[in-house]
Structures are given as structure tokens and as C-alpha cells.
């Protein structure tokens, strides 16, 4: 029953976010601030992780290709498929659920604890629109970060494959171009956009409706990370079944 009540509250929160909009003059600066905090501020970690994961995927594929009949270009193919289909949209989103999600929950939760949200409500401000809407809009730019993740991941794979002596650059590029299905890119970005919405809203929900003090802010951040990850994993399965199945 608690889960159903939470899903109901979450749905109502999402509806409320789009009601009684804040003045555009103010909203514009809030959106730019959130793009900087949530997306631009995450690029460093996304690039770092993507590069090394791409490299590891390439090395592990190479080490498992023991049959001489299988072409070495498969390393490039496997790296591309792994990075584009799963690693960049899903794995990075789970990392973002930790980084961005815990930031969102703790910042909104702290505002709740220190009565800043009450202050907004008393003034007649739709606090959900003021706090959550800019985050949702900012996260629409998240696919750009994922595009960078895809590029850097594949680049990491190329670097590790070629300079590790597992295959030639030409083999890797040939593998990248083998059986390329453009819809896989669309699939990855559809997933990314949905995950972006989840990363913006579930942590906001846990921060906005939290009760208690500083300790509970920490607990809410942990809970929000767990639930955001769970929802991303489940939606990943459903979307894959629907779009590729």
C-alpha cells in the first residue's frame, strides 16, 4: 500500500510541477543554473568513466576472441554496440542517479528542513514548479552528455585496442561500421530522455516530501538513489523489449 501511495504522490507531484508557472524572467536563470549544475558539471565524470569503460570493453572482447576464424574487427563492433546500446544510456544514467540524484535530493531536502520551501509556499509561489521544473528542462540537455559519452567510450576502446596491440586501427574502424543500425542511436536517445526525466523527478520527490532533520536528508538521498536506479533498470528492460524486441 505504501508503494501505491508513493506512486500516487509522485504522479500528483509531476502534474503540480507543470501548473502555475514561475515568471519566465526568473525561470530562465534557474534553468541555466541547473544546466550548469546537472549537465555541464557532470561532463568530467561522464568523460572519465566512459573512456575507461570503453577501453575495458575493447580489451575484454579482445581477450575472449581466441578463435582465429573470428575477425579482429569484432572488437570494434562489440565496443560500439556495448557503448551505444547499454553503457552510455543506462550505465551512465545509473552513475548520474548517484551524482545528480543525490545532489537534487539533498538540496531540496535541505530546503525542506530549513523551511525554505514553506517560505516559498507562504509567498504564494508554486514551489514544485520553481524547484523541479528547471531541473526537468535542464535534463533535456542530458542526451548531449550521453552523445559525448558514446564518442569518448568508443575512442577509449579504439585507443586500448590499437595501442594495446589487439587490432589495427583499420580493423577497429571496419568493426565500427559493420551492421550499423541507425535506429540503435534513436533507441539509445529515447532511453536517455526517459531516464533524464526519471533522474530529475524521483530525487526531487524524495527531497520534497522528506520529513525530519539533517540525518533524514542523508537517508532520503540514499533512498532516492536506490529507487532511481531500480526504476531505470526496470524501464531499461521494458523499453528494450518495446523498441528492439
Amino acid at each position: 500500500m505504501n508503494y501505491l501511495a508513493s506512486i500516487g504522490s509522485y504522479s500528483m507531484m509531476v502534474v503540480e510541477v507543470f501548473r502555475k508557472p514561475t515568471k519566465w524572467r526568473i525561470m530562465k536563470s534557474l534553468i541555466l543554473k541547473e544546466i550548469d549544475e546537472l549537465v555541464y558539471g557532470s561532463l568530467g565524470i561522464i568523460i572519465f568513466i566512459s573512456f575507461f569503460i570503453g577501453a575495458v570493453v575493447a580489451i575484454q572482447t579482445a581477450l575472449n576472441l581466441t578463435n582465429p576464424i573470428i575477425p579482429r574487427s569484432l572488437i570494434g563492433f562489440a565496443t560500439r554496440q556495448s557503448v551505444i546500446l547499454e553503457f552510455a544510456p543506462t550505465f551512465v544514467s545509473i552513475i548520474m542517479a548517484g551524482k545528480v540524484g543525490s545532489y537534487i535530493t539533498s538540496s531540496i531536502g535541505t530546503m525542506r528542513v530549513t523551511e525554505q520551501i514553506d517560505a516559498l509556499e507562504v509567498m504564494g509561489v508554486n514551489s514544485l514548479n520553481y524547484l523541479v521544473f528547471p531541473k526537468i528542462i535542464a535534463m533535456l540537455f542530458y542526451p548531449f552528455a550521453i552523445a559525448i559519452s558514446m564518442y569518448v567510450g568508443i575512442f577509449g576502446g579504439w585507443l586500448a585496442g590499437v595501442f594495446g596491440g589487439f587490432l589495427t586501427s583499420a580493423d577497429f574502424v571496419a568493426g565500427l561500421q559493420t551492421d550499423f543500425v541507425p535506429f540503435h542511436i534513436a533507441y539509445a536517445f529515447i532511453k536517455t530522455l526517459i531516464f533524464a526525466f526519471i533522474i530529475a523527478t524521483i530525487p526531487s520527490f524524495h527531497g520534497f516530501y522528506m520529513k525530519g532533520g539533517a540525518l533524514e536528508v542523508g537517508k532520503a538521498s540514499t533512498t532516492s538513489f536506490v529507487w532511481t536506479s531500480v526504476v531505470i533498470i526496470i524501464l531499461n528492460y521494458i523499453l528494450t523489449q518495446l523498441l528492439l524486441g
Binding site: K20, T22, K23, T114, E115, Q116, A119, V122
Partner: protein, 255 residues
């Protein structure tokens, strides 16, 4: 003026407010006092519209809050100023940004008009050199002044304060109390203060409402509170040695 008629509020099985009726007059500092858990904060949040009572009505200058449309409620809230216990200043904004916030949200004033208004209210609360500081960089007393400035920047009809001098040293607490009283008289607003500080009662209390277990136990003026025989009130008022001595002196004088 705010009229409260028989309001009830529960959370689950806990019946917090059990039918409170009272009137808060314009241009006066009205104090709500009572022990922790007596329902003061819930009562104040009902007055602010943050909680909706299950029964009863609250009338702001004759307008029943429960019958207002969403837009009317929003407009009414813009006529309310609130000073929270912990000041509730926005951490990410400077002092100037905090005070300017309601003007930016709800008026069409130009930047220079807003700046003039902000300067005026900050001067009124005796804060002139803190415009560009962040809340974390100023003292608790200064934060309270900023909160008061933010609460009055829109020329409110109603000013609510929740424990305005908690956590402050006695001297700063008196300054904050005096400031609230002066602003109430100057702007002719209905001020309601939630407190358990007897010094505030003595300093600025014009009308006092004593709550106990979610009910109105007593109401009167600051002079009457020292003469009352209501046991709950006397237990609360004379819990400190200082006020015990004041009462003793009063009784001795009477005899």
C-alpha cells in the same frame, strides 16, 4: 483583522487543534503562547494556509480562506509576510536577492525600483552594509532582520512570526521584538507571533492567546496574564524564577 472560528486539525489519529476561536486585531502584536506540543505551530500554519483545517473557518478581513479560489488564495498569500524560526533565507541568494525575491516574483517593477525598495526596507531593519553577503556569512540576529525585511517588502497586511527571537542573545532578542512592534504600528498590520518567550510577552504582547492541548485555554492582555488565576497559565508564566519573583512582588503590593 483575522477571525478564527472553531478550527480543528488532525494528523492521522492525532487531533491537534480541537476547536479554537479567536480574533487578531489590526495594528496590534498578537502573541500565541503555550508549551511545546500545545498546537501553536500547527495553528500558525493553518493561519498561513500551509495546513487546511478539517472544520471551522479563518476570515482575513472578512474573506473566508476556505471559500477562495486558487488565484484568490495566491493573491491573499502575497499580502502575508512570514518570519520563520530559522529565518528560512534562501542559501543560494545574497541578502539583497532574498529581500528582492518577492518583488521579482510578483511585481512588474523595474530593477531600479526594486533596488530602491530593497534599500528602503533593509535600512528600516537597520541593515545597510550586508546587501552582497550570503545568509551563511551573517549572524543569526542579522538573518532575522533580513527575514523581517523580506516579510515586509511587499507591504503585507498580515505578518506572522514563528519564534522570532529563538537562538538569539537577550539583547538582540529585545531589538528584534522592538523592531516587530514598531513595524506593526508603522504599517498598521495584523501581526501574529508564535512564542514561548515570556520576555517577548512582556515586551510587545498586546493580545495573548494561550494554547493548551490544542484548545484555547486563556486569552487576554500582558497585564491580565499576571493577574489570572488560570492554573495552566500561571504554571507556564511562572516557570522561571524571575517571573515567580515578579508575581510575588505583585501579590505583596496588592496586600
Amino acid at each position: 483583522m483575522i477571525e478564527v472560528n472553531d478550527i480543528h486539525k488532525s494528523f492521522g489519529d492525532a487531533h491537534i487543534l480541537k476547536g479554537i476561536s479567536t480574533t487578531f486585531e489590526k495594528g496590534k502584536t498578537n502573541l500565541i503562547i503555550g508549551q511545546s506540543g500545545s498546537g501553536k505551530t500547527v495553528f500558525l500554519k493553518c493561519l498561513l494556509g500551509l495546513f487546511t483545517p478539517e472544520a471551522g473557518s479563518i476570515l482575513y478581513d472578512g474573506k473566508d480562506y476556505s471559500t477562495l479560489s486558487e488565484n484568490e488564495k495566491r493573491n491573499l498569500r502575497q499580502e502575508m509576510g512570514m518570519v520563520f524560526q530559522g529565518s528560512a533565507l534562501f542559501d543560494s541568494m545574497t541578502v539583497e536577492g532574498n529581500v528582492k525575491f518577492p518583488l521579482e516574483m510578483f511585481t512588474k517593477q523595474s530593477q531600479s525600483e526594486m533596488r530602491d525598495r530593497v534599500n528602503m526596507v533593509l535600512k528600516r531593519v537597520n541593515l545597510v552594509d550586508a546587501h552582497n553577503k550570503f545568509p551563511a556569512e551573517i549572524s543569526g540576529g542579522m538573518q532575522k532582520r533580513v527575514a523581517i525585511a523580506r516579510a515586509i517588502v511587499m507591504n503585507p497586511k498580515y505578518l506572522f512570526c514563528d519564534e522570532p527571537n529563538s537562538g538569539l542573545d537577550p539583547k538582540t532578542a529585545i531589538l528584534i521584538d522592538d523592531l516587530i512592534k514598531e513595524i506593526t504600528e508603522e504599517y498598521n498590520i495584523t501581526t501574529i507571533i508564535n512564542t514561548h518567550d515570556m520576555n517577548s510577552v512582556m515586551q510587545i504582547g498586546e493580545k495573548i492567546l494561550f494554547l493548551k492541548d490544542g484548545l484555547k485555554e486563556w486569552e487576554g492582555t500582558k497585564n491580565e496574564i499576571f493577574k489570572t488565576d488560570n492554573e495552566a497559565v500561571t504554571n507556564f508564566v511562572y516557570s522561571s524564577d524571575l517571573f515567580k519573583k515578579v508575581r510575588q512582588m505583585y501579590i505583596e503590593e496588592r496586600h
